[in-house]
Symmetry: C3
Subunit: 266 residues, 3 copies
């Protein structure tokens, strides 16, 4: 009896859960390797939104077991000449289109090698031009989970497409950031990282400003302000978030992605 593979394949797509796309990819994987853990990160990435996918991947990957394979399909260029890629990093393996969606997480975990996926031996045939998640990326992740060597899939790529999250502007008395993601609870996640805040050595004395409202304190928990009141807090993924205790900051401030958030010193 073969030992149970303890490999995890974590899936992140913009496929939604209404259609059968995700289920079919899982079927393809299990047909190759029935001894694998399949975990969904999210399938609700805004359709074709590479930046949102890259952000979700960056804030998720490090919580998974070392050696996990991330199967990421946000792929507006499916069927065009964008390359399918495998990125090996210090602790993980990322599989998806070379359109930048993998780049933030992969760079953070230190890239060891980028390869093109081109060996048709590992593809579902015929390969469609509209669903490489099923025909290329899912079987690649599955064969990787079975131990097929990276070098079997294709040649090394010397460069890869990178995207970056727009950095906040920093002046002596002010950090000028913006909302980059809004979660289910209406928390407004900004591009202002804990690291940037800590450069303001007394950052707990700063105030946050959003939509011309000053939020008077940088607090440690939602309950530091009264029920229904807004607050600024370093959230669980290491970025400054604007929240409302017991409510939705999205509704409170009628905010959306790109709403400006400033941190003001003193």
């Amino acid at each position: 009896m073969r030992p149970l593979s303890e490999k995890t394949i974590a899936l992140l797509t913009d496929f939604g859960l209404s259609d059968n796309f995700v289920g079919v990819m899982k079927g393809v994987i299990l047909a190759v390797n029935p001894r694998v853990h399949l975990v969904d990160i999210s399938h609700a990435v805004n359709p074709q939104d590479i930046v949102e996918g890259a952000l979700l991947l960056k804030s998720s990957y490090a919580y998974f077991p070392k050696g996990s394979i991330f199967l990421v399909v946000i792929d507006p260029g499916v069927g065009s000449r964008r390359k399918p890629a495998i990125i090996k990093t210090h602790n993980y393996v990322f599989v998806g289109p070379d359109n930048g969606v993998l780049s933030i997480a992969a760079q953070e975990d230190r890239i060891q090698e980028v390869r093109c996926i081109e060996n048709e031996k590992y593809f579902m045939r015929p390969v469609s031009n509209t669903f490489h998640g099923r025909d290329i990326f899912a079987p690649t992740a599955a064969y990787l989970s079975k131990g097929v060597k990276h070098s079997q899939f294709g040649k090394v790529l010397k460069s890869m497409k990178k995207i970056n999250i727009q950095k906040p502007t920093i002046t002596k008395h002010r950090v000028g950031g913006k909302v980059i993601y809004i979660d289910r609870f209406g928390n407004l996640i900004t591009n202002i990282s804990k690291g940037i805040l800590e450069r303001f050595t007394q950052y707990r004395k700063c105030t946050a400003q959003i939509e011309n409202v000053r939020i008077p304190s940088m607090v440690d928990s939602y309950q530091a302000v009264k029920y229904g009141k807004p607050l600024a807090i370093v959230g669980s993924f290491g970025f400054l978030e604007i929240s409302v205790n017991g409510g939705s900051a999205e509704k409170y401030f009628k905010a959306d992605k790109n709403t400006r958030v400033d941190i003001i010193h003193g």
Copy 2:
């Protein structure tokens, strides 16, 4: 080779499936114990609705394998002084905040012991103040599934927070209840249990009344009335439900949670 753990961890949260919260909790669990079954009960509990979460848990837990661990995170008090808890019952283990969300199911299955989760050895560090699902509850469930003893996590709690579903009022000729949950099909689940109905020994001769409409019979199946017509039936979780054959009682009666439902004798 170690034997496969056959343990199931069942997850119930208000996190939704759009963000990466649930996926990250699963990553944390698999990093501790890669040999566990992860099953979603629901992640669509109305945000911070402890009562709805408690109801869903009550109507779900008994269908899972004995020994299953329920990881329940509906936690409006995250970061405050509400305690994280492990409740051992006759057949199961419940992990979540001590805010009442575990209490209905745990009491029904007979509580053997309630413990506080306080041993930081089993936490993700640093512990955030906004995502104890990831930092405290998920790793606790994972270590429990690996066989770590309950006594390792913290001290016994002598009391726990309890919530109760409002009971219907019962008079000689009438049971006065209300809608407590509405499912995807628009079925209106009331707080009138089969047990209460059976106290009216001839309950099949009762009529249900909702929004001033009398539904003439307590039926055995949806097809007992014509297509598009309403009916009252004891549903699959043991409560009286108002349904429409082939349609939605929610739309038919423009009902919502708290809509009054009466059972009238004779």
Copy 3:
């Protein structure tokens, strides 16, 4: 130690993911067989829409490992006299109500045997009249996955309920089809199969027409037309689809199910 079952049970229902129906079915399965892979195809089938369920099953099943069990619960007749059925086909096993939802996939994979599920030994007791997914279909799938023989569940059925997708009308110069499914991206999947198109031997010279708009070419990838422009393409499940490069054909054409799509020769 028993070997790990490598069996997959794939679930397809109209239960949605907000309620606990799907989670409870999985609990029931794991209580019978803790060594099984559970994979969701979709739970967002339009409530009680047997045709949509049949289509999703048809376009999914063949990607799963041989021997997989499909647990399909779209069951508007629950509690009536429609029969619960097991269908054994050349490569797979289908479990669900005998209302046609299994028929398109099962016929395509060549039916070997249809049996009624009637042995109460394998049911959850008491059997409700409203949730056979939990009480009959889930435990049947679970016991099948453990190796219980088909003949144990009930007698052979000589006929089964069949449904068919309306075929397009074909004349010398025109194929008259319609939209039968719309996916998350707004792609309009028609009932015009690749096989029908290939009877027009020079089908790449055909044009598609929808809502009086002629789409000038049958293309190989979304990028064959400019960003924001419509196209006709044979999609990943083998049917003609109307899409918009980088957008939604559903919105572009204000289309819905049944919108007419014609293929015109020359």
